[in-house]
């Protein structure tokens, strides 16, 4: 009985994080983006600086009619948002925010592989949506999503392989336990490659070619309305949280900090995640969208060679230490 309660509590905690953090990131995006453009952003919903804007948006989405196009493949069309969203929930389970068994939903032995594998599944949701909508813009969006995923999955994997080599384990808490501060300069290239490839996989600007609203409306999500559309948006923001958390735990040392190591590890993790989320928003505001050929060139001719060089460097240093 105690085990059941323990599991239930952990799942509830993960679910709460799953629901709250994306909204926080979304609200931060509203405000940070507004101020970076000399605006104020939402100011009315909730009274104080529009803090409840996303709640209001959610209510609005819930009220909208759920439209399925006449020519669409109904079941796949309706299933797609769930396929896009659920993997991120699963990934959150495996990310530790502090040392000790209490600070992680479930320790997974091959945690790194688990995380990357499940993240890759999420893209299937976009593909299903793009194909099932019976809309040429959706189909184009789906195609671009697939092309982008194929290009950026590899550098992401290679970067993670580098850090796994450095730690000598593929378990995420294991990597964190092995972390030393000098890993930061050692793995910095890998971290950059991972972060950029992750951004591309989330289709965040400047890598938002698959949903480029000025040319293909909203890519694979063009035909979606109401709650299903909201689920896709939620998937994007959970994706930001997951990407930032992964970069934090794999490359930035997670709960390790200059001081306050005991009991305050989770503060460090959250702080690093918040800073990275800010960077994600910052990049969105600062850079224009990359063209499709630029996207492919960046992946194949810059990120993959960099990741391979990082692996070589990791190997050399590892051998030198031993």
């Amino acid at each position: 009985m105690n085990d059941v309660l323990d599991v239930a509590l952990r799942l509830i905690a993960v679910f709460a994080v799953f629901l709250v953090l994306p909204l926080v990131v979304g609200q931060a995006e509203h405000k940070v983006m507004a101020h970076m453009q000399g605006r104020l952003g939402p100011m009315h919903a909730g009274g104080f600086h529009g803090w409840a804007q996303l709640v209001a948006d959610g209510v609005k989405f819930a009220q909208k009619e759920d439209v399925v196009p006449a020519d669409a493949d109904r079941r796949i069309f309706q299933l797609a948002p769930a396929v896009a969203l659920l993997p991120y929930l699963l990934v959150l389970v495996a990310i530790p925010i502090g040392p000790g068994r209490g600070a992680v939903g479930q320790t997974v032995d091959a945690g790194v592989f688990f995380v990357l594998a499940v993240l890759g599944v999420g893209v299937l949701g976009s593909l299903m949506a793009g194909w099932a909508s019976a809309n040429k813009f959706s189909l184009l969006g789906g195609l671009r999503t697939a092309a982008q995923l194929l290009a950026y999955e590899l550098p992401m994997l290679l970067a993670v392989a580098s850090v796994a080599m450095a730690a000598g384990t593929v378990s995420i808490p294991g990597i964190l336990h092995a972390f030393e501060w000098w890993w930061l300069p050692w793995q910095i290239v890998g971290a950059l490659v991972f972060f950029v490839a992750g951004l591309a996989e989330l289709q965040r600007p400047p890598f938002d070619m698959p949903v480029a609203d000025s040319e293909i409306i909203f890519g694979a999500y063009t035909e979606y309305t109401g709650l299903r559309f909201a689920l896709f948006l939620l998937a994007e923001y959970v994706g930001i949280v997951v990407l930032c958390a992964l970069t934090t735990v794999l490359f930035l040392g997670g709960w390790h900090g200059p001081y306050g190591a005991d009991g305050l590890g989770w503060v460090w993790t959250l702080l690093k995640v918040a800073v990275l989320a800010f960077v994600v928003i910052w990049l969105r505001v600062s850079y224009p969208r990359l063209r499709e050929d630029q996207l492919q060139r960046l992946a194949w001719t810059v990120l993959i060679p960099l990741a391979l060089a990082q692996i070589a460097l990791t190997g050399i240093v590892k051998v030198a230490i031993n």
Partner: protein
């Protein structure tokens, strides 16, 4: 593959707990049945993209079977490579061919008997090999995981290095072949537009 999995499940159930199967065994059998069903639908459905999506279910089911057999590493690699990449590539190709929504009857070729004969032969061979290799081997779920990353790595790089490296050379050959093929096509069309996406489409 799914046939092999169900066969493996049958051998597993024939062990000590044959009359009073444990929860894991029941789960294994059920998942095996689902996987087998999904595999059947994959080859029989007349809608191309549905077939690809049922393939996702099949491969996912296989990953779950690996998990139940404590081969965690293999399970996640299965999801990562097959569900995350191969099926995505497949869908990418299907979308490029403008796969229609609904049935595509012209996708059936007349090779059904030959194909099923080959499939049955392959399944029989696999089942026979697996049954013969493992017979009454029993996985001890209580002890340390026997399919963990560490164990798999040790096996792969101590006992099976040569096949592993041979496989990588094979993949490299396939890669080089793909590049050669796509470049040749580009030259024949006599425009230097073989960059990025177009090169990949031809692959």
């Amino acid at each position: 593959m799914s046939v092999a999995a169900t066969a493996a499940s049958a051998t597993a159930a024939a062990g000590p707990g044959f009359l009073s199967p444990s929860g894991v065994e029941i789960a294994f059998l059920l998942v095996g049945l689902v996987t087998f069903g999904a595999a059947l639908v994959t080859v029989t459905t007349r809608q191309l993209v549905h077939a690809a999506l049922w393939l996702v279910v099949t491969l996912g089911g296989l990953a779950v079977e690996y998990l139940l057999l404590t081969a965690e590493f293999i399970a996640w690699v299965q999801v990562l490579i097959y569900v995350g990449s191969v099926v995505v590539l497949l869908l990418f190709g299907l979308m490029l061919t403008k796969a229609p929504i609904g049935r595509s009857p012209d996708a059936d070729s007349g090779n059904r008997p030959v194909a099923s004969a080959v499939a049955v032969a392959a399944a029989a061979a696999l089942v026979w090999v697996v049954v013969d290799a493992f017979r009454t081997t029993w996985i001890d779920l209580g002890g340390p995981a026997q399919g963990s990353t560490e164990v798999s790595g040790r096996f792969l790089f101590r006992n099976w290095v040569l096949p592993f490296e041979a496989l990588s050379v094979l993949l490299l050959a396939a890669l080089v072949g793909a590049i050669v093929l796509s470049r040749k096509n580009g030259a024949a069309r006599a425009d230097g537009n073989a960059a990025g996406g177009s090169g990949k489409e031809q692959r």
